[in-house]
């Protein structure tokens, strides 16, 4: 038995990619499958560096389609398996991700968004929000956590394994190139030391016993003969998804009760939004802050409540309206005017948000 990677808790200084690798080790993940792509490479680098020490496995595949499918294979065999990708890799991986939705395979995917479309930049963006939440030829039956700090990358990578295995939906940690490469301190910990029990895994196919005699057969189907079969399955998935929606959704709302304007942002941009909100509050401007932590399922009711008294909202994102589309869908029926600060593929500072809001107030 390999030693525990982290005893208790420990404050460390790391890049976001390393954080993900350490979190996966701490979460007792068994195997990572992957294909290199910037800006997620160091997740693989550090996972493979630690793998021999902690008795973990790694398989480098020939491309992201294969990385996604082998992750599903590992998961079906009962391993706590994950992969990581970005940009064009995320595009290629949509087919296995869709299969995971169809067959309810609890695989974990870490996405470090880069600039798009296509190869674009290796650096940063929030342009994979649509792809990660609703990519693939399905209904978006997946769970997506959008992180903003290294601590969250650690916490939510661990959580993603438990969410996936508890609810049996593919689960995503949506970071970005800035988070991947940034370095800051965080507390890493053994989940048990925080009272977090890892949800046990089990073989989904190939379980012991004779199917039909010792146990029910497992019949996983992604190719159906009739429209009616498909309809029944997708509707069942939707019912299951709706049933757990409230249990899974997460958000952070601050100072929204009396806010004239609410800044809405997700992921790393929240850090700037929070600083902007605090600064503007100090100047006496009534600004609120709303952040969906789960982009799927989206915290729609919480957002409507946060906007109940607002005169305006400002949606801020490093994409051309991908978060805004999720927001508009979630708040359908509200009449709060929407202002936007869209900077596809480019970082957003608190100063820019402050300037924008001060401009709106003139």
């Amino acid at each position: 038995m390999a030693e525990k990677p982290i005893q208790g808790e420990k404050r460390v200084f790391m890049t976001g990619n390393e954080v993900v690798a350490w979190a996966a080790v701490a979460a007792q993940a068994d195997i990572m499958y992957g294909y290199p792509i910037t800006p997620q490479n160091e997740i693989m680098h550090y996972w493979t560096r630690m793998a021999p020490k902690f008795d973990k496995k790694f398989l480098q595949t020939e491309d992201e389609i294969s990385a996604g499918f082998t992750t599903l294979g590992g998961t079906l065999s009962g391993k706590r398996a994950f992969t990581a990708t970005a940009g064009p890799g995320n595009t290629l991986m949509q087919e296995p991700m869709s299969l995971a939705e169809m067959l309810r395979i609890p695989a974990v995917f870490v996405i470090q968004q880069r600039g798009g479309p296509s190869t674009a930049t290796v650096i940063y963006s929030q342009q994979e929000v649509t792809l990660t939440t609703f990519g693939g030829n399905g209904e978006g039956h997946r769970i997506v956590y959008a992180t903003a700090t290294h601590q969250e990358l650690f916490d939510y990578t661990i959580k993603a394994f438990n969410t996936a295995w508890k609810y049996r939906f593919p689960t995503f940690v949506l970071g970005d190139g800035y988070q991947a490469k940034m370095r800051e301190s965080l507390m890493i910990y053994d989940p048990e030391s925080k009272g977090i029990t890892m949800v046990p895994t089990e073989p989904i196919v190939g379980a012991p016993g004779m199917p039909g005699v010792d146990r029910d057969p497992v019949h996983l189907r992604n190719c159906l003969n009739t429209e009616e079969e498909l309809y029944d399955i997708v509707k069942e998935h939707q019912r299951n998804y709706d049933a757990i929606w409230a249990e899974i959704e997460e958000h952070d709302a601050q100072n929204c009760e009396d806010a004239d304007i609410v800044i809405v942002s997700a992921g790393v941009v929240c850090r700037s939004a929070l600083v902007a909100m605090e600064q503007l509050r100090r100047e006496g401007i009534k600004v609120g802050y709303f952040r969906p932590i789960t982009l799927r399922p989206f915290p729609a009711n919480a957002m409507k409540a946060a906007l109940a008294n607002a005169k305006k909202m400002l949606i801020v994102e490093s994409a051309e309206g991908q978060l805004a589309r999720l927001v508009k869908d979630a708040i359908y029926g509200l009449t709060v005017p929407i202002e936007t600060l869209f900077k596809p593929g480019v970082g957003i500072t608190s100063e820019e948000i402050i300037d924008r809001i001060q401009g709106l107030n003139k």
Binding site: R11, V12, F13, M14, E18, N41, T119, S185
Partner: protein
């Protein structure tokens, strides 16, 4: 036949020229210039140590060149502060982002002047990419393996989980290739405290002793100057760092 002979003669002449260059270099080196390469783990702080060392040297030396050789994944690069450093009198060999437009994902090409940088006169500080692969960049620098002045210093941050214990740091140093000294740069970014720096100093110094290498210094953020003093808890000199790297995100 004649063609082959001509080629042979040319090759001999080139070899002679190269030998002259090396002799000249070795001769020049006797004038005791400082040539230091900073290597270390990803996020160990090697770039911060290198920039500060170069600027510190500039206070007493007229001719100091800082070279950005972090090709492994140059997300933190000297590029954004290149002009500022130049204005302060430092020679800086680094790309500027505009020069790399169009290079796509291979935006970390070697600038030709980097290859020949050790042939420059004066003091030279090299900021090398991370890990063992980073240290191998020296294989591409002309004269690196013959330069008697070149000292390679490994920067260790005990806040990095893979270099947080005596055993891990020792293994890391032994796998790094030629190293001439260790630098303790133990920190946790904004969350650093003096106790953390001192614990790092003890551990890195113990590793240095066990592998027979000298301790060059402990590096620490300048905000600790009053409380930490000139020497760390084990007697290593403290080099204070002004933090430039937070401004150098690609």
């Amino acid at each position: 036949m004649l063609f082959r002979e001509i080629i042979q003669i040319l090759k001999i002449q080139l070899d002679i020229l190269d030998t002259i260059n090396i002799v000249t270099l070795v001769g020049g080196a006797l004038l005791s210039r400082i040539v230091e390469a900073y290597v270390g783990e990803y996020a160990s702080g090697k770039s911060e140590c290198a920039v500060n060392r170069a600027l510190h040297l500039l206070e007493t030396e007229a001719d100091v060149t800082l070279v950005d050789l972090d090709f492994v994944e140059p997300f933190y690069t000297l590029r954004p502060i290149r002009e500022e450093l130049k204005e302060r009198g430092l020679g800086v060999v680094a790309w500027v982002t505009e020069e790399t437009l169009g290079l796509g994902e291979t935006g970390s090409l070697m600038k030709p002047e980097m290859r020949w940088v050790l042939r420059r006169p004066g003091n030279i500080i090299l900021d090398i990419g991370y890990g063992v692969k980073g240290a191998q960049i020296l294989n591409l620098i002309e004269g690196a393996h013959e330069d008697p002045d070149l000292k390679i210093f490994a920067v260790i941050n005990s806040g990095r989980p893979l270099t947080s214990s005596f055993e891990d740091v020792r293994d890391y140093i032994l796998g790094l290739g030629p190293v001439h000294g260790l630098i303790n740069n133990s920190h946790l970014g904004d969350d650093t405290d003096i106790a953390f720096i001192q614990e790092g100093a003890k551990m890195v110094t113990a590793v240095a002793k066990s592998v027979g290498l000298p301790m060059i210094a402990t590096c620490a953020d300048e905000r600790f100057k009053t409380d930490l003093g000139e020497f760390d808890v084990v007697g290593n000199p403290v080099r204070y760092l002004k933090r430039y790297m937070p401004r150098t995100f690609w």
